[in-house]
């Protein structure tokens, strides 16, 4: 298959499968009185793994698909998911976070942006509902549930799109450290010297 088409194709299939799975199964399972929403988590994962541009495009099309399938106002979810995908991608490009719990925090942030952003846009569009305790409670519970499933969703998305990614900088850096550098001409002990026992 053409190398340039591998990633877009995988992302398109991932977006479609995510939205169908969300509507057909995940949305119909109630946990602590709310349903999980895996779509912002998948967009967040794509942003963290593939960068801001892929994240923003994935966010736009996933949001559009959600709006189309749910017969909602077109563009609302797209707008929010673009923000999620783009900023997760920028975080990867600027900070390259390596901590294993980053997807957990980003999952919570992405769900918060989606939930609060949707509420704000609905208020602006004239939906007759005040800022109630119930609304805040529902958003908080959704963030909690999504945070719990953020790591498995991230791992699954990474497994799906990693083969199509050009290279993983984190893996490259880790390889460079553990194997004594990228140059095969220099051994590890020559470059680093004797590693003290306490620092191991």
């Amino acid at each position: 298959m053409n190398e340039t088409l591998r990633l877009p194709l995988r992302l398109a299939i991932l977006a479609f499968a995510t939205v169908v799975l969300q509507q057909a199964a995940v949305a119909q399972v109630s946990i602590f009185g709310v349903s999980a929403d895996i779509t912002p988590l998948v967009v967040m994962s794509v942003g963290l793994l593939a960068g801001s541009l892929a994240g923003a495009i994935m966010g736009f099309f996933t949001g559009l698909l959600v709006d189309l399938i749910l017969v909602q106002t077109l563009g609302v979810t797209s707008l929010l998911y673009i923000v999620i995908g783009y900023w997760c991608g920028r975080l990867r490009e600027l900070r390259d976070p390596s901590h294993g719990l980053v997807p957990l925090a980003m999952g919570a942030a992405a769900t918060a942006v989606a939930g609060i952003g949707l509420a704000i846009i609905q208020f602006l569009l004239g939906v007759d509902a005040p800022v109630s305790f119930l609304l805040a409670q529902q958003i908080f519970m959704t963030i909690l549930v999504n945070t719990l499933i953020a790591l498995p969703v991230y791992a699954l998305v990474r497994r799906i799109i990693r083969p199509a990614l050009p290279d993983d900088p984190r893996r490259r850096r880790r390889r460079a450290y553990t194997t004594g550098g990228l140059s095969p001409l220099e051994s590890r002990s020559q470059r680093l010297g004797q590693i003290p026992r306490s620092s191991r």
Partner: protein, 294 residues
């Protein structure tokens, strides 16, 4: 090279945001028969068989997840239900006596008081997707205009009124639930006077309904049944036939004496978050004209 990449990234981002805003503005300002809405309905029509298949294929997964979720709340529900059973047994004795009396009186006046859902030509439909957000409160069912479903047909399920058809496609339809913020239905409390009011979702709490415009001194009590009143005015009928259960009075606190009417909170009968099968009443009035009032 780097500048070029940055410019390209920003340009694509700007285009995506602009397209989203254009779609939002165009969609929000257009009527339901506009091209954007038509395209949207077309795409839903194309995707509904896939969703239906996915819904059937993923039912075991839903059931397992639902089993875990239900188990957590089962214990507290059991204790609550034991108390309810005791109360209901007492009520059943009274109800059975009233039923016998009611049947005898009905025969006397020559009226058929039975609700008889079958007379409204119900079409049984499976729920194939649902809206997870608080805002839209809709579900999609696998029956459409090919099965005789029409716009504004009442939808019942789980022992009560569920909503009405808001969008119809040939093989699927969107149901707007009774908890949707724009929903309204004329309803009767089964108190001693049969007081009527307008039932609306409680603003800010989509899991509860509010029965408004009741007479100020209406003898409404907690636990009383609320049913559709089947509003009639000349040749125009309400969208809903009379007598369909909607909910039970949850809070009958007497309102401020200064108000001219009172309102009570109502818990829906149907568990709207766990509907699997619903019935669409395709002939709620036996061919009479429909009013555009709740």
């Amino acid at each position: 090279m780097y500048d070029k990449q940055v410019r390209r990234r920003r340009a694509i981002l700007a285009i995506l945001v602009a397209v989203s805003l254009i779609l939002l503005t165009a969609y929000f300002g257009e009527s339901p028969s506009s091209p954007l809405h038509t395209v949207q309905r077309g795409i839903v029509e194309v995707l509904s068989p896939i969703q239906e298949g996915a819904s059937k294929a993923l039912k075991p997964v839903r059931d397992i997840a639902g089993w875990f979720s239900d188990t957590f709340s089962a214990k507290s529900q059991r204790d609550q239900l034991k108390k309810e059973v005791q109360t209901l047994r007492t009520q059943l004795d009274h109800a059975q006596a009233a039923l016998i009396q009611n049947a005898q009186l009905s025969k006397l006046v020559g009226l058929d008081n039975s609700l008889g859902i079958a007379s409204f030509q119900p079409v049984t439909a499976q729920v194939i997707s649902r809206d997870p957000t608080l805002w839209y409160a809709t579900i999609e069912v696998d029956k459409g205009s090919d099965d005789g479903v029409r716009l504004n047909d009442p939808v019942v399920g789980d022992g009560g009124l569920v909503g009405k058809i808001s969008t119809v496609m040939p093989t699927a339809a969107i149901v707007t639930l009774i908890t949707e913020h724009s929903f309204a239905v004329s309803a009767t409390v089964q108190d001693s006077l049969g007081d009527q009011g307008v039932l609306l979702p409680e603003v800010g709490n989509p899991n509860q309904l509010l029965l408004q415009n009741l007479p100020r001194r209406a003898p409404v009590q907690t636990g009383q049944q609320v049913v559709t009143s089947g509003f009639k005015s000349g040749s125009l009928d309400s969208l809903y036939p009379a007598g369909i259960p909607i909910g039970q009075v949850a809070d009958s606190n007497v309102q401020d004496d200064l108000l001219n009417n009172q309102q009570v909170k109502v818990n829906p009968v149907a568990d709207l978050r766990h509907l699997d099968v619903v019935q669409i009443l395709t002939a709620p009035h036996g061919g009479s004209r429909r009013a555009q009032v709740p």
